[in-house]
């Protein structure tokens, strides 16, 4: 976006800034021998034309941005552009003067002109460079504003994700189905019923606590997931099978709290529960090259993904982005009948608590 043309209200002041320059130009010409009238009529249109030509300084500014290009490149690009523009301007000036000579008031203007060529060239180059400098300034200003906007947006996304994480912690389906299962066990297996009751209470307590924490060691996150899976196993019986493959090094890494839980819940709700014969939920984690890789896999089912699963993934993605920016990623895909979600993030030891 052009820093002057794309913004209403900037073109006016920019052109107004050229008025004194037009005056200066006229003055130069007057000193060079023209009358003030002649000088003004020659200078003002030329100044207007060059004002617009300098707006094109944006293109070289873009191709040699201050932050990324070498100093040499910037200098060479801008001088080349300045030279070209100035020469073009001079050509236009010459044409204009020749045109004016037709009129009696301007007879003889052309004679004085060649003397002024070098001066005008220099003036053209200087004005162009000034124009380029202005563009760089405006671009820099725009970039600073954009950076601020980005920071704010990230902040908002993090807050929203936090809120959603809190809200999503207690899934009603899970809660009521579990209570129903407990109710069912009371008559037939009272001890199991009591255990399940306690497990559920612990799970809910942990979920609520972790909602307020930023990062935890992976081992703790896995413990929560396993507690959840233990509860679900009562409901699904042999339909839910769990495999775990996490290496010791990975377990000590820090992860955002409740980053795995939504994935595991999805795996059960949208994978296992949708299949008559059930299947395997596989959780794997490894640390390699300073990065942590976590995967959750479940059998893919033919039915179209219901809306819930999408939200869970989006939430986790946002939280990873809020904490690690571009350094973390979430990849979800179906391959060979398995739905696989892989998280990668920098491997860092958890803060000492």
């Amino acid at each position: 976006m052009h820093p002057i043309l794309a913004f209403r209200g900037r073109l006016g002041p920019y052109l107004a800034g050229w008025v004194p320059l037009a005056g200066l130009l006229a003055g130069l010409l007057a000193v060079g021998g023209m009358t003030w009238l002649q000088a003004t009529v020659v200078a003002v249109p030329l100044a207007v034309v060059y004002a617009f030509m300098c707006l094109a300084a944006w293109y070289p500014c873009q191709s040699a941005p201050l932050r990324k290009a070498t100093f040499a490149k910037v200098v060479v690009t801008q001088l080349a552009a300045a030279g070209l523009s100035a020469m073009l301007w001079l050509f236009l000036a010459d044409t204009w003067v020749v045109f004016l000579e037709q009129f009696p008031a301007f007879a003889g203007v052309g004679e004085r002109f060649p003397r002024l060529v070098v001066v005008l060239l220099a003036v053209g180059v200087v004005l162009y460079v000034l124009g380029a400098a202005l563009h760089y300034l405006l671009i820099g200003f725009e970039e600073a504003q954009q950076a601020e906007r980005n920071a704010l947006q990230l902040e908002v996304a993090a807050r929203e994700a936090e809120l959603r994480a809190l809200r999503a912690q207690i899934d009603p389906h899970f809660l009521f189905n579990t209570l129903n299962a407990i109710s069912s066990l009371i008559a037939t297996e009272p001890t199991s019923a009591r255990t399940m009751c306690l497990e559920l209470a612990e799970f809910l307590r942990e979920s609520l606590r972790l909602g307020g924490v930023a990062t935890i060691p992976l081992a703790e996150e896995l413990r929560l997931a396993e507690r959840y899976l233990g509860i679900e196993r009562v409901r699904f019986g042999p339909r839910l099978r769990v495999e775990r493959d996490v290496d010791g090094g990975a377990e000590t890494c820090a992860v955002p709290a409740l980053v795995l839980q939504p994935l595991v819940e999805n795996a059960v709700r949208h994978g296992i529960a949708q299949l008559v014969q059930g299947g395997v939920v596989r959780i794997a984690g490894r640390c390699s090259g300073g990065r942590l890789y976590l995967t959750v896999e479940n059998p893919a089912c033919a039915a179209p993904a219901p809306s819930g699963s999408g939200l869970g993934l989006a939430n986790v993605r946002q939280r990873l982005a809020a904490l690690y920016g571009q350094d973390a990623s979430l990849d979800a895909r179906v391959a060979g009948g398995t739905f696989r979600v892989e998280l990668t993030m920098p491997a860092s030891p958890p803060p000492a608590t």
Partner: protein
């Protein structure tokens, strides 16, 4: 006039994919006199067969199950059965009402709550059948949501057809023939009823006896002076009536 309740034993079938949920219902029902559990099913397919085989008067039906949902099971039943939905979440309550379920139990529920539902079931079973309630259809769908698949029963088999793969529906007497990718499945339903399950922006009744998936039309041909045919991607030719064409034109 007192509402007659069915005397004698109430034959009940339990349908839920979770074993603890089934055993809980079994426990509650065993404590009741004159209730007999005639079948216990772990999924919708089993349920459809069990209803055929054991003819229960009442179905205690979970909604969210793998394979077929509780509502789809209802659609496939070949007999008139009273239904009480049993589920963990209340989001389906409105739809349950629209398919004329007897009751809607929220897990976990007490034995008394179940007894209440059974009383209502007995009342419903004792009532004379209202005309027009023969077939249960998913009526009054919330706007913007259409079933992604149709279910049909042919003999012992249950067929599930994704709506995207449906080419054409043809009416035959009092049932319809669903054509999809060369396969044909018949379903006991009138074309008009089936039309209520299909998005009119994608499926048009081009003729008294045909509904066509607009996305599967390859071209329209004229034949004779006044008549048109739709030719589908697989070559099938479907006649289009005048009114049918009027409905079809804006979507082409």
């Amino acid at each position: 006039m007192a509402i007659e309740t069915t005397p004698g034993t109430l034959r009940v079938a339990i349908v839920d994919d979770e074993a603890p949920a089934r055993s809980l219902l079994r426990e509650y029902l065993s404590a009741l006199p004159d209730v007999e559990i005639v079948a216990e099913c772990a999924n919708g397919f089993e349920a459809v067969h069990a209803v055929e085989a054991t003819a229960p008067a009442l179905l205690l039906l979970d909604i969210q199950m793998p394979g077929l949902s509780g509502f789809e099971v209802l659609e496939l039943l070949g007999r008139e059965v009273a239904v009480v939905f049993v589920t963990a979440y209340d989001e389906f309550a409105l739809r349950a009402f629209e398919v004329h379920a007897v009751d809607y139990l929220l897990k976990p529920f007490s034995p008394d709550r179940l007894k209440e539902a059974l009383v209502r079931a007995r009342q419903r079973i004792g009532q004379p059948r209202e005309a027009g309630l023969d077939k249960v259809t998913a009526a009054a769908r919330p706007p913007g949501t259409w079933p992604a698949r149709l279910v049909a029963r042919e003999g012992g088999r249950v067929h599930v057809i994704p709506v995207d793969a449906l080419d054409l529906v043809e009416a035959r007497d009092d049932y319809v023939c669903l054509r999809s990718g060369g396969r044909e499945v018949t379903k006991q339903q009138t074309l008009t009823e089936l039309a209520t399950q299909l998005d009119p922006a994608r499926f048009v009744r081009v003729h008294r006896s045909f509904i066509v998936n607009v996305a599967k039309i390859a071209r329209i041909e004229r034949y004779g002076k006044d008549s048109r045919l739709a030719v589908l991607q697989d070559g099938t030719k479907v006649p289009i009536s005048h009114t049918g064409f009027a409905s079809l034109r804006p979507l082409l």
